[in-house]
């Protein structure tokens, strides 16, 4: 079991969701975040005050998958989130000790469906 955490551009979210859907990855959690990296900062002015905006809007995906899905999922994200411009984001893959599906109490593989790729 792995937990895949991806930081992507907000305007790529729909493409990524579609790619994941096509890859049979059904469950995921999304949140708005702000990121700092290599992008050049925006400058804004409010009356006499000038500010440098160091954080860019990003979207964070959190996807728990069973081992056979790790590669599929990562590649789906890499493929759909890339624009080639600085700021595309990162994908982190973390080990997971346990997964529970609250509704049923199912554990681990059982908690993230499907546990094995359809075409496998």
């Amino acid at each position: 079991m792995k937990l895949i955490v991806a930081i992507i551009r907000p305007d790529r979210l729909n493409e990524v969701l579609e790619a994941l859907y096509r890859a049979d990855v059904r469950g995921l959690t999304v949140s708005r975040v702000m990121g700092h990296g290599g992008e050049t900062d925006r400058v804004e002015t409010y009356r006499g005050t000038t500010v440098k905006m160091e954080l860019q809007e990003k979207v964070r995906l959190e996807i728990g998958v069973s081992e056979p899905f790790v590669g599929i999922t990562v590649n789906a994200i890499l493929g759909s989130a890339r624009t080639g411009e600085v700021g595309d984001g990162k994908v982190f893959v973390l080990d997971v000790d346990q997964v529970h599906r609250i509704r049923t109490g199912e554990r681990d593989e059982g908690a993230v469906t499907p546990a094995t790729p359809a075409m496998a």
């Binding site: 305007d11 702000m34 900062d41 804004e44 002015t45 500010v51 954080l55």
Partner: protein, 449 residues
């Protein structure tokens, strides 16, 4: 509207015209009400766009208050309402430019300056209406230039033709408060602008949702409030005619909203808030040309009927590649046309002796006259807007680059965000901070424990 002024003047005041305080009081209020409609429009439009372009959308309306207002004072008023002498059928003269001969003496029964200001508020909001078709992509600089050119080349002439003693007025076209001059003019120009600029890059690909529907409702509420000055004030006096126009402006949008909500309900299973707000505005648009010429029951009927063409136009348009983003044409162009034509159907001399009898009163000719006004405005405003934008397009890019568009117009055009939390924003210190800071000089209050 102004073709009533002389008549009213005769009724209400002795010649030479003198200022009537009661009429002045009402027209001062009406002018303030119509001015408020432009900020109201900023909220109606601003709520309908995405947060990242909301300030830009609002500024497109607010900027018209400045730019168009100044142009109006300098020359546009004179072109619209000045005496054009030999060419008066086509355009006004320059006699009133730079406010020449525009003072406190009476025009009709109110100070000439008040008449000037009242008309100015119409010029401002008409130009601002167009912005709804080009939001989230048109660059702000070119937009400001467009406001100036459009006010001079489209609004002023058409206003002159219909209200300033021009040829359509002499033809007897009835347009009480601007169905043709304001709404058809703005609506067709918006359609053309949307075609010339092309759709937003996300249009038809992603869902583009209103970021703040309460703002849309606030805008609609304030627009209705201001519209009482728009239509009621177009009587140019605090008389029975004002009462009629006012009450019709009270009734028509109610009928439109009710029908709109029902259409929404039957099509989508829900009566939507955006739909309710849109219905109110469409009803207000449709009653505008008719307000002072038809009966109150006629206004209810007109409002109910007017919901249909605009409603289905919006539904149809949304399925096309035509990104008239906030449906200015469906709302104002089609709504104004419906109103202008129905004016020719419902109008009755019995309610306004300065008006005419319409189709239902056995005078189909009036319907033809109304159609002439509509067709003229559609053709002229549409064509001229096309020319203005194409010519502008030769000297500068009208729309932002796709990446800029993606970033949002607020940051790219105004260097601001509508709602900022200040997180991760670093203060750029100005070079020099005075050595002795005044605050410290006067040792600040010690604070509470």
């Amino acid at each position: 509207m102004t073709h009533l002024a002389p008549l009213l003047a005769l009724q209400a005041a002795a010649s030479p015209p003198t200022v009537v305080p009661a009429d002045t009081a009402w027209m001062l209020v009406s002018t303030a009400l119509v001015l408020l409609m432009t900020p109201a429009l900023a909220f109606f439009y601003g709520g309908l766009v995405r947060s990242k372009s909301s300030l830009n959308t609002m500024m497109m309306s607010f900027a018209a208050l400045g730019i168009v207002g100044v142009v109006w004072a300098l020359v546009a008023y004179s072109l619209a309402f000045g005496d054009g002498g030999a060419n008066n059928a086509w355009i006004g003269g320059l006699g009133n430019s730079l406010l020449g001969h525009v003072g406190v003496e009476a025009k009709g029964t109110i100070p000439h300056l008040v008449f000037f200001a009242f008309q100015g508020t119409f010029a401002i909001i008409t130009a601002a209406l167009i912005s709804g078709a080009v939001v989230e992509r048109m660059r702000f600089g070119p937009y400001l230039a467009f406001l100036v050119l459009w006010s001079l080349l489209v609004y002023a002439p058409v206003a002159h033709w219909v209200w300033g003693g021009g040829w359509l007025m002499t033809r007897g076209v009835l347009d009480f408060a601007g169905g043709t001059v304001v709404h058809i003019n703005a609506g067709i120009s918006a359609l053309v602008a949307a075609l010339v600029l092309g759709p937003r890059k996300d249009y038809g690909r992603q869902a583009i949702l209103p970021h703040n529907v309460p703002f849309v409702l606030l805008g609609a509420g304030l627009l209705w409030f201001g519209w009482f000055g728009f239509n009621g004030g177009s009587a140019l006096a605090a008389n029975e005619l004002a009462g009629l126009a006012f009450t019709n402006t009270f009734l028509a949008p109610m009928a439109t909203m009710v029908v709109w909500i029902l259409l929404d309900y039957f099509r989508t299973g829900h009566a939507t808030a955006v739909g309710g707000a849109t219905g109110i505005v469409v009803g207000l648009v449709a009653i505008t040309p008719a307000a002072g010429f038809i009966s109150p029951m006629g206004a209810l009927a007109l409002g109910a009927i007017a919901a249909l063409p605009s409603y289905f136009a919006i539904v149809w348009r949304s399925g096309t590649r035509l990104d008239d983003s906030l449906d200015v044409f469906a709302g104002h162009g089609i709504g104004g046309t419906t109103g202008a034509l129905l004016t020719g159907v419902f109008c009755l001399k019995a309610w306004n002796s300065a008006g005419a009898d319409g189709l239902l009163a056995g005078n189909p000719a009036q319907l033809g006259i109304q159609a002439l006004g509509v067709a003229t405005s559609l053709a002229y405003a549409g064509g001229m807007t096309f020319v203005i934008l194409k010519v502008m397009g030769l000297v500068t890019a009208l729309r932002a680059a796709p990446r800029t568009e993606g970033l949002g117009m607020d940051v790219s055009q105004h260097g601001e965000e509508a709602y900022s939390s200040g997180e991760g924003s670093i203060l750029v210190m100005p070079d020099a901070i005075p050595a002795v800071a005044p605050a410290t000089a006067l040792e600040p209050q010690t604070a509470a424990r």
